[in-house]
Symmetry: C2
Subunit: 198 residues, 2 copies
């Protein structure tokens, strides 16, 4: 069954990035978590190896995805994923389609008519597989509209102190979630919660 | 070795209580987490049974404690624990000693000269065992003063949306924590992070 799954890394104090909102910052925590081993000297100039539990969790998660849904900020910080998101065709929720897009040979598409339409289009593209949702604002929109089936958080062993919060401006709270699947990595803890639909 | 361990339950979105700051609210989440079975009809009018992993985690944690340290708000909400905190002598950080206290046959003591003194006195009372710190404000004070050795969070499967945050007004961030010990309960996930002293 096609599920809509929020996928995000978060610090123990609830932030997805520092105040400058860099995806690089998120990856920086991940690097400092101890979960990642940086290998140099091979055929690649630099290879990142995550811990075996994290690798298995990531394979399990991403192999079930058929499409991605993000907001404009994530799209821009990631520089449009070079035209193709690694986890499937990406739907980007925007007010206006960015200049120069859509591009030929790109699976990145834009949705201008709101979150419900974006989820519907992404589900159709996923063809029975799941839709991954990335970006705090887009995840909040999905959650508030009752469109989310799961919340997958990589809880990083760091306190950021300030930044962009994953859970902010929530409607319909308190909201009890289901029993999570817990995968301890090194430093990072992968938590996968079912969202109980009301 | 005597450690200073923050002990707190927290919602996935980072709150330790709702805006009304009731300890009962924290316990309410715990009840809804699925980790607790309420048994009636026995010799006690009502017995709360937590899941076996949670029970083992709690036994392991509390058996290592020799004293508690809290703030005034926790003391008041808990109505002074009836004069004796279950986990050892309690030191309460206050500006003024509450009327009617200290009481005879009570192990609850008050500290008026700040967090460093409070930790020192609690450590002395703990006699080689660890000091548990409870209450968001007191935990933040310990963390900011570099007095904390571990952070133990019971991460509840609930989004509260608003309330009192566990990690707020932090100094010295970003702060990387050590690799946590992870104990999945039912709904709740027990996370025990070493604090890396700088």
């Amino acid at each position: 069954m096609s599920k809509v799954i929020a996928i995000m890394s978060m610090s123990l104090d609830g932030y997805v990035s520092d105040p400058n909102d860099g995806v690089a910052e998120v990856f920086d925590w991940y690097l400092t978590s101890g979960d990642v081993e940086i290998q140099t000297g091979g055929s690649d100039p630099m290879t990142f190896m995550v811990s075996e539990p994290s690798a298995e969790h990531l394979r399990d998660l991403t192999s079930g995805l058929g499409a991605m849904l993000t907001g404009r900020r994530t799209f821009e910080v990631a520089q449009g994923w070079g035209g193709n998101h690694a986890w499937g065709p990406a739907f980007v929720l925007v007010h206006q389609i960015p200049a120069g897009w859509p591009r030929p040979n790109s699976t990145v598409q834009f949705v201008t008519d709101g979150i419900e339409s974006a989820v519907k289009q992404a589900k159709a593209a996923a063809a029975g597989k799941s839709v991954g949702v990335h970006g705090a604002d887009t995840i909040q929109q999905c959650l508030n509209a009752g469109l989310l089936d799961e919340i997958q958080v990589d809880l990083a062993a760091v306190l950021l102190g300030s930044g962009v919060r994953l859970f902010d401006h929530l409607a319909g709270t308190p909201a009890v979630l289901g029993n999570p699947t817990v995968t301890p990595g090194v430093g990072v803890t992968h938590l996968r919660y079912p969202v109980r639909k009301t």
